[in-house]
């Protein structure tokens, strides 16, 4: 997401869009008798919502904790030659639809939260590793040369030069990965992992729009919310000097 959008316009758009969204949803909810249904289902929404968030946080968190170090490791001297092969493998892996990943995870690990988390973890891992790898490799060689020339150790170069400059790309990878994660989390229901997907799929199967929307809308809002949070983190935590957004 490299285009430079004026942040003032962004703020205004975000506010307007949210307003329109809420209004439309409100009108719709009124018309389709959603509100009473949602009120009745509120306990379920809350419970499943917590499960949903749990799935996202655990699988996403694991993916970040494993993915970023893995990406960094692949740029270090010893493992550098495997970098291209791994990148190719990751690229192919990234084309595999997440439903398939979950299905395969289930066929190996059975049903429940564990295979769901594992499947989501795998799906989320790939963009993070790929972007970390690419981001560090993309750091201008003359910066590293200057750092080496000044006598910085490889570890100091990593922390002081490579990571700050790769931050933007890594964050973009995390953002994409979490978007995929939140987007696929509803499918966890299919393999017994719970989450808001239960309301959605059950609603579809039983032909009850209200139930389905009761699951779909919170899911959609959660997805937008997570993306927004990560976007803000990207804006504020990356140091100004390497942050074109600031």
């Amino acid at each position: 997401m490299a285009e430079r959008i004026e942040s003032g316009g962004l703020q205004r758009l975000w506010q307007n869009g949210l307003l329109v969204l809420v209004f439309t949803l409100g009108a719709w909810a009124w018309a389709s008798g959603l509100l009473p249904t949602m009120a009745a289902l509120w306990d379920d929404i809350a419970y499943l919502g917590r499960q949903h968030v749990w799935l996202v946080v655990v699988s996403g968190g694991l993916a970040i904790l494993v993915g970023v170090p893995l990406g960094i490791a692949l740029t270090r001297r010893q493992l550098r030659r495997y970098g291209d092969a791994v990148l190719q493998f990751l690229n192919i892996g990234a084309t595999i639809p997440t439903l398939a990943v979950l299905a395969l995870s289930m066929s190996v690990l059975g049903i429940g939260a564990r295979p769901a988390i594992f499947g989501l973890f795998i799906a989320t891992l790939l963009p993070i590793v790929a972007n970390t790898l690419a981001g560090i490799r993309a750091v201008a060689p003359h910066l590293i040369e200057a750092a080496e020339g000044m006598g910085m150790s490889p570890r100091q170069i990593l922390i002081g030069v490579e990571l700050p400059n790769a931050m933007l790309v890594i964050f973009a990878g995390v953002r994409t990965a979490l978007a995929i994660n939140v987007g696929t989390a509803p499918l966890a229901f299919l393999i017994g992992g719970g989450g808001l997907g239960e309301l959605i799929f059950t609603g579809i199967a039983l032909n009850e729009f209200a139930m389905m929307l009761a699951g779909a809308i919170p899911t959609a809002l959660l997805a937008i919310f997570v993306d927004f949070i990560v976007g803000q983190m990207q804006l504020w935590t990356i140091p100004r000097g390497v942050n074109p957004l600031r």
Binding site: M1, T95, A103, G183, A185, P186, A216, T219
Partner: protein, 220 residues
């Protein structure tokens, strides 16, 4: 292995579901190109419009596919098409907008300004400039956006099986509900293979459509 036997035994079914799958993705992405590329070109004229359109498209894409399907059901039920082929195509069409519009917009705004000035100074009309210079240069990037759209939407279409759209996702959904690992693995493998093959095929197409003058310099 049982799965292999299953595949061999049900080859026609696999083929027909693959056909359904390709049809949904193909039609939808095709339409997305017809809408997305002109929109991408149009917003290069106006930065504010560009910001709005791109942000709107990126919001659409963060909505999980099953949620999007779900939200369309009530609307499309009004014309009796709540489930099945149409919602799947519409969802894929919407999801494809961001990669295609964004890539078109980026590619065209990144065209070297010197080329634009030379073209204008020589007396090419806006349309001629687009056709002779800007679009051919933008093709590789636009195609890359189409590739992303196709691969992503092969996955989305797999989920569409849950709203009755057919396709290879049906193997997965039946495999789960009937606790049949053969169907499950068949479906998962089929969708994966389709995705990987499409990616490579479109990459080849991208190379074909790129002018030789734009490719990496060949050894003298």
């Amino acid at each position: 292995m049982e799965t292999v036997d299953y595949i061999l035994a049900n080859w026609p079914l696999i083929a027909s579901r693959t056909g359904e799958h390709i049809s949904i993705v193909g039609v939808a992405v095709g339409l997305a190109i017809l809408t997305g590329v002109p929109i991408g070109i149009a917003i290069t004229q106006n930065r504010r419009a560009a910001a709005s359109v791109l942000y709107a498209a990126s919001i659409v894409i963060t909505i999980p596919s099953i949620a999007l399907f779900g939200m369309m059901i009530p609307i499309l039920s009004l014309i009796g098409q709540g489930i099945g082929y149409l919602p799947a195509v519409i969802a894929v069409l919407l999801y494809s907008q961001l990669p295609i519009i964004r890539n078109t917009y980026t590619a065209i705004t990144n065209v070297d300004p010197a080329l634009r000035e030379a073209a204008r100074g020589m007396g090419l009309t806006r349309l001629q400039r687009l056709r002779e210079v800007e679009l051919p240069i933008a093709v590789p990037v636009i195609m890359s956006g189409v590739r992303v759209a196709v691969v992503m939407n092969i996955g989305v279409t797999a989920i569409a099986a849950y709203i009755g759209a057919g396709g290879l996702g049906a193997f997965i959904s039946r495999g789960i509900s009937q606790t049949d690992p053969r169907q499950l693995v068949t479906g998962a493998l089929a969708v994966s293979v389709l995705a990987v093959v499409s990616d490579f095929a479109l990459l080849a197409l991208q190379r074909l459509l790129t002018s030789p003058g734009l490719r990496e310099a060949r050894a003298a």
